[in-house]
C-alpha cells in the first residue's frame, strides 16, 4: 500500500491537478455523510468524465487503494463515508443532462445531476421522472441508483429501480461497461442493470444513466386528514386500496411525530387533539382527479376524522407536504439523538409491526416516533435516545425490531440501504447461501475489494 501523499502526487498525473485535493479542509469536507459518521480520506478527486473515472480506478486498482464514490453524501447509513481512508471520488462535477428524448420516453444523464434539477427539466417537456426521495433537492441520481432510493410516490410509481433502463459503469480495474439499452423491454443476456441498482458503490461506479420517463400527469390533489389515533387511518389506507383507489402518496404520521412537528412549526394547521395524520395525494386527468379526490374525501369522512384539509393549489399543497417533510428535523427538537430505521413490511403486516414497536417502546423505555410510507409498507421508525439507559437498551431494541420485521416477511431497509450502520444485521435477513452469492458477486466485480471497502458486509 502506498503512502497518503504519494497517492496525492501520483494522482496529479492521472487527472488535472486542480481537481485532486489534499488540503485538510477538502478532506474534512469529504469525510462525512448524513449518518454523521466521519472518517478522513487521504485525498479527494473530482473527475469530469468517464475516462477520468476509469483512469483513477485503474490507478487505485494497481495500488490497491480503497475508493469511495460520493454523490451528495446524503446517505443516512454511512454508505458514503471513507471508512478505510483512500480516495474519495466526488461526482458533483459530472452533472450534465446529456439528452431528454420525448419520443423514446427516456433520458441519458450523468450521475451527479441533482434529482430535482432533472425533474424540473423533464417537466418542461411534459414528461415525468417519478422517484422523489425527500432529499431530492440535493441528492444525486447516481446516489439514488446506488441506493435504489424510494420516496414519497412509490405506492403508485415504484422506486428508482423501476426507472433505470441502462448504465455505463466503470469497474474496479478501470474497464468501462454498458448494461441495458434505452428500450423499455429487453431480454438479452443477464440483467446487470438491476444488479447494479442498490449496490451502494460496491460493484462499480456509474458514469452514465439511462432513465425511463413517463408522461406527466396533468393534475393532482392533496389531502391531509387528522385522527384521534392510529387505528382509523390504518384501516382507511387499506379501505382505499380495497375500493380500487391507488393514490400516489399515502403517508402516515404518529402521535410523537405530530407533537414534534407542532413544536417545530407552531403555525402548522393541526388540531391540538390530533394523534395520527394521513396525507393522501391522487393524480391523473383533471376530471378524474376531481372525482377521485371527492371519493377519497368521502372515505375519510366515513372514518370520522378530527378534520380534513384539501389543498387549494400547488402552493397550498406544498404547505401540507411541508408538515410531513418537517418531521425528521422536528424530532431533533425533542431529542438529543435519534436512531432512524427504515424497515419495510408487506402491507398486511403494518398493524402487527406497529404493535411490536409499542412493545419495544415499553420494554426498552426508549420513546419512538413512527412515520412513513403506509402505501408501500416502508416505515421510518425513530428511536429517540436521550438518556444513558436508552443508550444501553438500544441494541436489544433494534435486534427485536429487525427480527420481528424479518418474521413478518419484511426487510431491513426499504430505501436507505445497509451501508455501515446496518451491516451487522445482514445475516438476520439472508442465509449462508445467499450471503455467499453476494460475496462471490462482489469478488467477481471487485476482486481487490477497493470499491466502498468496509460496507454492506462489514
Amino acid at each position: 500500500m502506498i503512502l497518503t501523499n504519494q497517492i496525492y502526487h501520483q494522482l496529479k498525473s492521472v487527472i488535472d491537478k486542480e481537481r485532486v485535493l489534499f488540503s485538510i479542509e477538502a478532506r474534512i469536507a469529504s469525510s462525512y455523510d448524513a449518518s454523521r459518521l466521519s472518517y478522513l480520506p487521504a485525498v479527494l478527486v473530482k473527475p469530469i468524465n468517464s475516462k477520468e473515472v476509469s483512469d483513477i480506478l485503474r490507478f487505485a486498482y494497481l495500488n490497491t487503494i480503497p475508493v469511495y464514490t460520493r454523490g451528495a453524501a446524503s446517505s443516512v447509513t454511512g454508505s458514503a463515508v471513507p471508512i478505510k481512508g483512500g480516495i474519495v471520488l466526488d461526482l458533483s462535477l459530472m452533472n450534465r443532462i446529456i439528452e431528454i428524448n420525448p419520443v423514446n420516453l427516456n433520458a441519458t444523464i450523468e450521475p451527479g445531476v441533482v434529482v430535482t434539477d432533472f425533474q424540473k427539466e423533464v417537466e418542461k417537456q411534459n414528461l415525468f421522472y417519478p422517484p422523489d426521495p425527500a432529499s431530492a433537492d440535493f441528492c444525486t441520481i447516481g446516489g439514488n441508483v446506488a441506493t435504489a432510493a424510494g420516496g414519497l410516490r412509490c405506492i403508485k410509481y415504484g422506486t428508482t429501480r423501476d426507472y433505470i433502463l441502462g448504465l455505463e459503469v466503470v469497474l474496479s480495474d478501470g474497464r468501462i461497461i454498458k448494461t441495458g439499452r434505452g428500450t423499455l423491454k429487453k431480454v438479452s443476456g443477464y440483467d446487470l442493470t438491476r444488479l447494479f441498482v442498490g449496490s451502494e458503490g460496491t460493484l462499480g461506479v456509474f458514469t452514465k444513466i439511462i432513465v425511463r420517463l413517463i408522461p406527466k400527469p396533468p393534475a393532482e390533489a392533496t389531502l391531509l386528514a387528522f385522527f384521534d389515533g392510529p387505528t382509523k387511518p390504518l384501516q382507511l389506507s387499506l379501505t382505499l386500496l380495497d375500493r380500487g383507489i391507488l393514490p400516489r402518496a399515502l403517508e402516515f404520521m404518529d402521535a410523537t411525530s405530530i407533537s414534534a412537528v407542532m413544536k417545530y412549526k407552531p403555525d402548522a394547521p393541526i388540531p391540538p387533539e390530533t394523534k395520527a395524520m394521513l396525507l393522501i395525494e391522487v393524480d391523473g386527468y383533471p376530471q378524474d382527479v376531481e372525482n377521485l379526490a371527492r371519493q377519497v374525501e368521502q372515505y375519510i369522512q366515513e372514518a370520522k376524522p378530527l378534520g380534513i384539509i384539501r389543498a387549494q393549489d400547488k402552493n397550498h399543497s406544498q404547505k401540507l407536504w411541508s408538515i410531513r417533510k418537517a418531521i425528521s428535523a422536528a424530532l431533533f427538537s425533542i431529542t438529543a439523538q435519534k436512531i432512524s430505521e427504515d424497515i419495510s413490511v408487506p402491507r398486511a403486516s403494518i398493524i402487527p409491526i406497529l404493535q411490536t414497536i409499542k412493545e419495544i417502546e415499553s420494554t426498552s423505555g426508549i420513546p419512538t416516533a413512527t412515520f412513513g410510507h403506509l402505501g408501500d409498507g416502508n416505515l421510518h421508525i425513530n428511536f429517540l435516545v436521550s438518556t444513558k439507559e436508552h443508550e444501553n437498551n438500544l441494541a436489544s431494541a433494534l435486534d427485536c425490531l429487525f427480527k420481528r420485521t424479518i418474521e413478518l416477511g419484511g426487510t431491513l431497509s426499504g430505501e436507505h440501504g445497509i451501508g455501515l450502520t446496518k451491516a451487522k444485521y445482514l445475516p438476520l435477513e439472508w442465509g449462508k447461501d445467499e450471503l455467499e452469492i453476494f460475496k462471490a458477486l462482489k469478488q467477481l466485480f471487485d476482486p481487490k475489494n477497493i470499491l466502498n471497502a468496509g460496507k454492506i458486509f462489514g
Binding site: 488540503s23 485538510i24 479542509e25 477538502a26 474534512i28 469536507a29 469529504s30 469525510s31 462525512y32 455523510d33 448524513a34 449518518s35 454523521r36 466521519s38 473530482k46 451528495a72 453524501a73 446524503s74 466526488d90 458533483s92 462535477l93 452533472n95 451527479g112 441533482v114 430535482t116 424540473k120 432529499s135 433537492d137 440535493f138 441528492c139 418537517a326 425528521s328 428535523a329 431533533f332
Partner: protein, 399 residues
C-alpha cells in the same frame, strides 16, 4: 450570545444547504457550502495545532452571508452567527486589509467625509470610464479599489439625504415613522426614497428622515470589524426616535433588527417599507394597472419575511407580471463582488439566465438596492434591454 459549539453540533449533515447556496451552485465545492464550512470549523476547534488550515480564511471569505443556508436549514443551525464569529476571530488574528480598515474606521462613521469620498469616487469613475474605452489598465491600483471603480454604478448627482428639502411631513398620521435610508439608496438610487416619500404623502402618512444618519454597519460587521459596526450604531441610535422605523434595503433591515438587543440597538419597531405599507393602509397602495412587463427578484435577505409575497401579489395585480423559474441569488453580496468579481458574476449570470432570456423589454423589480447595483452592473455588461426598478419606484410612479 449564541453558543457556537452548540450550533456546530446541531448540523445534521443532511446536505439540504447544497440546494440553496449560491456559491455551491457554481463551484460544486463542498468546502464552500454550509455543511462543509461548519465541519471544517468544528474540526479546527479540536484539531492539534500542528495541522495547518491554510484554506480556512478563503473558506470563510467566500461566503456571501446571504443566509439562505440558515433559512432553509431543517435543523435550524444559525450558520450566519457561526461564520460571523469566525470572521471576527480571523480579523482579531490577522487584522483587516488596510484599505477596508481606512474605509470602515474613518469614512463610514463620518457623513461629511463619506459624501466627499463618494464625490471623489464619482469623478475618478468618470475619468475611468474614459480610460476604459481606451483599454487603459488600472493595474497599479489596489485590487479592491479597481474593482470598486469598475463595478460602482453611476452615482446620483445628489444623494438622497442631500436632496431632501423637508425631512419631515406631518400632514397625515399624527405619529410619524422614521426612514432609514442606507448607503446604496442614498448615493446611487435616491429615486427609491422619492418613490417612498411620495407614496407616504399620497397615503397621508407622516415621516421624518434624520439627516445625520449613517451606514447601518453591515459590511463592517460582516468583514469582522465589530468596532466600526458599534460606532455606527451609536451614532444612529439617538437619531431615530419614532416608534416605527422603515427601511428600503433588506440588508439594513436585518442588520438593524439583529442589533436591537445589543447596547446601541434601536428600540423601535423596524420594518421593511413595503411590509409597513401593506400592514398600515387598508386602501390600495398602488393604482392599477400599468402595462409594464415585470418579474420579481427576491433578495436573499428577504427570505423568511413577508415582503416577497406582498410584492409578488402587488405586481400580479398592477403589472404584466411573469413568474421566474426560481429565486436564485444575484451574487452581489455587498463587498463580495469586489473581492471575488468572477464568482460574483458567475452567480449573477445564472440568475439572469433564469429570468427568461427570450423576454426583451422586461423590468426586474426588487426590494433591495444592493441587488439592483449588481443586476444593473451585469445588465450593462451584456447591453441587455432589461432594467431594474425598486418596488418603491413602481409605487412612486403610480400616482
Amino acid at each position: 450570545m449564541v453558543n457556537i459549539d452548540k450550533e456546530l453540533e446541531r448540523c445534521a449533515k443532511c446536505g439540504q444547504c447544497r440546494s440553496v447556496c449560491p456559491i455551491f451552485s457554481v463551484l460544486k465545492d463542498e468546502t464552500l457550502v454550509a455543511r462543509g464550512r461548519l465541519a471544517i470549523i468544528q474540526s479546527k476547534t479540536t484539531a492539534s495545532s500542528s495541522v495547518e488550515y491554510n484554506d480556512l480564511a478563503k473558506i470563510i471569505d467566500t461566503c456571501l452571508m446571504c443566509r439562505r443556508c440558515e433559512v432553509h436549514c431543517p435543523s435550524l443551525v444559525k450558520t450566519s452567527d457561526v461564520f460571523k464569529s469566525v470572521r471576527q476571530e480571523l480579523v482579531a488574528q490577522n487584522g483587516l486589509p488596510s484599505l477596508l480598515r481606512l474605509a470602515f474606521r474613518w469614512v463610514l462613521p463620518n457623513r461629511w467625509l463619506y459624501d466627499n469620498v463618494m464625490r471623489l469616487a464619482s469623478s475618478v469613475m468618470r475619468l475611468m470610464i474614459h480610460h476604459r474605452t481606451r483599454q487603459a489598465p488600472l493595474r497599479h491600483l489596489p485590487l479592491y479599489f479597481t474593482n470598486l471603480l469598475q463595478r460602482l454604478p453611476k452615482l446620483a448627482p445628489k444623494s438622497a439625504l442631500e436632496s431632501i428639502e423637508h425631512p419631515g411631513v406631518t400632514s397625515g398620521r399624527a405619529t410619524p415613522v422614521s426612514i432609514f435610508i442606507g448607503c446604496a439608496a442614498n448615493y446611487i438610487y435616491p429615486g427609491i426614497i422619492d418613490g417612498l416619500t411620495s407614496t407616504l404623502n399620497r397615503l397621508g402618512i407622516s415621516y421624518v428622515i434624520p439627516a445625520q444618519q449613517v451606514c447601518c454597519g453591515f459590511s463592517a460587521l460582516l468583514s469582522g470589524d465589530e468596532l466600526t459596526a458599534k460606532r455606527l450604531m451609536k451614532i444612529n441610535q439617538p437619531l431615530f426616535k419614532t416608534d416605527t422605523i422603515i427601511t428600503v434595503c433588506p440588508t439594513c433591515n436585518r442588520m438593524l433588527r439583529e442589533m436591537q438587543d445589543t447596547e446601541f440597538g434601536m428600540r423601535s419597531e423596524i420594518i421593511d417599507a413595503i411590509e409597513f405599507l401593506a400592514d398600515t393602509t387598508e386602501s390600495q397602495i398602488s393604482n392599477p394597472k400599468s402595462q409594464i412587463r415585470t418579474v420579481y427578484h427576491k433578495p436573499c435577505h428577504s427570505e423568511g419575511t413577508k415582503a416577497p409575497e406582498i410584492i409578488r401579489a402587488l405586481l400580479k395585480t398592477t403589472t404584466d407580471y411573469q413568474e421566474t423559474d426560481s429565486d436564485l441569488c444575484c451574487g452581489g453580496g455587498g463587498l463580495f463582488g469586489l473581492k471575488f468579481p468572477d464568482l460574483s458574476e458567475q452567480i449573477g449570470h445564472l440568475r439572469l439566465k433564469s429570468i427568461h432570456p427570450s423576454i426583451g423589454s422586461l423590468t426586474i423589480v426588487t426590494n433591495c438596492p444592493g441587488c439592483m447595483m449588481q443586476l444593473d452592473y451585469l445588465l450593462s455588461l451584456t447591453n441587455s434591454p432589461m432594467k431594474t426598478r425598486h418596488i418603491m419606484n413602481i409605487l412612486g410612479s403610480s400616482q
